[in-house]
């Protein structure tokens, strides 16, 4: 979709909403009293890579613009809808013509719109059950459920992008949750979804399903420790973890089911001593995919810490790793050596990656933040590495719902 068309659509929606607000409720019967809470979050991103040449890593762009509407529907349901505009997936990947293929550049960023989230949530279910029906991020681990503007770093960890999808793991389906009667907070969520995300075989009629179990213990009034386990099962996408240069002879084969396991731990501390005082968030997660066609034991992980050292300032430090643990075929090996030997277009397309990141964020209010980040990626073979420097502006207007803990 053309960006102008998207912006016009958003503007018209806003104008209609404004017109509704301006009208007298008694004279027209158009009431604004029940309008949903509306917010728009925008991420502007400027970045430069040392080696990679693709536009994704160089230049200035809108990383994402997100319109969110939230409201109580009736005594039984609450609804949430997020419409997101972001650069077209894959457009940077030199797939759009001979010229782009030749130099690894695209010429102008194209944007697409997508209904990222659209669900209703039951508010009057018995036995304190939680039911969410519609499209949403899957509850897998700590990073997948985050919207882009909540990411602790500009990009998701390589392990998350590689094993759970580069473009966010959102699915249509239903999930049921229950706070289990244990002495500590313990929430079990199970779900069944359509199975059409990029890690799944979109042509398969099989559903995907999974579960997440979290345990959260208060360590006094200022700190918490959370342990979580996640499991995901669904029809595996063709080419999953096969790399860019995989053999084509698998294309017509029947792909098996994919299982992904994850475990995470999070420690949070917020000082009660003063408003927006010192705070620390430390999170670590491991991700393990498996199926009959996945060679070896691929393994991914990440860990990060965010520390608020002054009222408006955060420091973030993160590391992560990925090991596909697969044997490369001869021609792949040659191709990879060729890639490493020349200036390459893309990061992350390596079988082993170690990433390290540091960022500094200035957040003068709840509604804006500027972030400067340096990220280093290493292929662990001594053949390739790259630096990525990013400056991200994050701002929100309107009534944005508070984020969960």
């Amino acid at each position: 979709m053309h960006p102008v068309r998207i912006l016009v659509g958003v503007a018209v929606t806003a104008m209609l909403a404004g017109a509704a607000c301006a009208q007298s409720t008694t004279a027209t019967g158009v009431s604004r009293a029940s309008n949903p809470a509306i917010s728009v979050n925008t991420l502007l991103l400027g970045r430069v890579a040392d080696e990679a040449t693709a536009n994704e890593y160089n230049g200035i762009r809108i990383q994402e613009a997100e319109v969110q509407l939230t409201s109580i529907v009736d005594p039984y349901w609450k609804a949430n809808l997020v419409f997101a505009v972001h650069p077209e997936h894959g457009h940077d990947h030199a797939e759009d013509g001979a010229e782009a293929e030749a130099d690894g550049h695209d010429h102008g960023t194209r944007y697409v719109g997508d209904v990222e989230v659209a669900y209703v949530e039951g508010t009057a279910l018995p036995y304190r059950l939680g039911l969410r029906v519609g499209k949403d991020y899957l509850p897998f681990g700590k990073h997948v459920p985050l919207h882009t503007h909540q990411f602790p770093f500009v990009d998701a960890p390589v392990a998350v992008k590689t094993f759970l999808g580069d473009h966010g793991l959102t699915e249509i389906g239903a999930r049921l949750s229950r706070d289990l009667p244990l002495p500590w907070y313990s929430d079990l969520t199970a779900y069944a979804v359509d199975g059409k995300a990029e890690i799944f075989d979109a042509e398969s009629r099989d559903l995907a399903f999974g579960a997440r179990w979290t345990h959260l213990v208060d360590l006094g009034t200022e700190s918490t420790l959370e342990l979580g386990g996640s499991w995901l099962h669904g029809p595996q996408a063709h080419g999953y973890l096969a790399g860019e240069h995989a053999h084509e002879d698998h294309d017509d084969a029947l792909y098996p089911d994919l299982d992904v396991l994850g475990a995470d731990v999070t420690f949070k501390w917020v000082s009660a001593s003063r408003s927006k005082g010192p705070a620390l968030n430390v999170t670590g997660e491991v991700i393990l995919p498996s199926s009959d066609t996945i060679e070896g034991d691929p393994f991914g992980w990440y860990a990060f810490a965010q520390y608020r050292f002054a009222r408006s300032w955060w420091l973030g430090v993160g590391v992560g790793g990925l090991d596909l643990d697969r044997e490369m075929h001869e021609d792949e090996h040659e191709h990879e050596e060729e890639e490493h030997a020349h200036e390459h277009a893309h990061l992350f397309a390596w079988d082993e990656v170690f990433e390290s990141k540091v960022n500094l964020t200035w957040a003068p209010s709840e509604f804006s933040a500027l972030r400067l980040e340096a990220a280093h990626y290493d292929d662990q073979q001594g053949d390739a590495d790259d630096w990525l420097i990013s400056l991200q502006a994050n701002f929100t207007i309107g009534s944005h719902p508070a984020h969960s803990y």
Partner: protein
Amino acid sequence: MRRIIVIAGLVALLAGPAAADRLQVVCTLTDLGWLAERVGGPEVEVTVLCPGEYDPHFLPARPSLARKLGKADLLCYNGLELEVGWLPVLMDKARNSRIRPGQHGDLDCAQALETVLEVPEGEVSRAEGDVHPYGNPHYLLDPRNGLRVARLMADRMAQLRPGSADRFRARARELARELTPRIEAWRTSAAPVRERPLIRYTKQWEYLADWLGLELMGAIEHRPGIAPSPRHVDQVVRQARAAGVRELIAAPWNHLDAAAKAAERMDATLVVLPAAVGSVDGAEGYAAMFDVIIGRLVAGAHD
């Protein structure tokens, strides 16, 4: 045998209503918790979500708090969007239909107010900071509002437990009889503080000033939620020196190092006041909180 039964019966009577029969009341703030305990007596079990030492604007929404909300028959909250950063998140996690908006278990205590101060006129803009669009929410710093809230709580508890209605209302009246003379006495004691204007760190003392007749001259953090610029602090310091300000008042969770520097520059005393029950030592109850507030204000005026 008969003696055992009689003794057991007496013990049961003395023990009061069994925990399972008691109305489960969850209050967002310690002030509300104190009022709910006074009004509810042994017929209620009160749980507070935000400890006194936390700024209630920024309480981390720990899921364990949602579990407490999940057991509530009645939720008493301050309202006017004071808890907007965390209560909706907890409500969603609590999955308790008894306390959803519109239910009898949902009590917005701001409904008790006769007057809400600082309701923005015209368009609300975040250029003015994180302004509360429905008005200043710190009304519990006027004890007269505390009594109004107590009456409202009594009525709602009576609705939920009709069998104890008379007792709830009687306790609210008893609290009014107890506090009314003290409210007058506190106001009289504050006379020396009325002689000079006050500077406050944040705009949360308006109800206190309205009740005591204090003049509030300016605020260091004039835009809620936004760190003040050095230029603005300079301006406030100049104004304070010109007006002979003696006291800069702040809440315990304000940035007291910055407040102390500003107070020093204006030759004033930094007076840290309890902005909630339990926020400082000695302010363990609602009435005790005002004892501390008046005591510290008067002491600061004499410095």
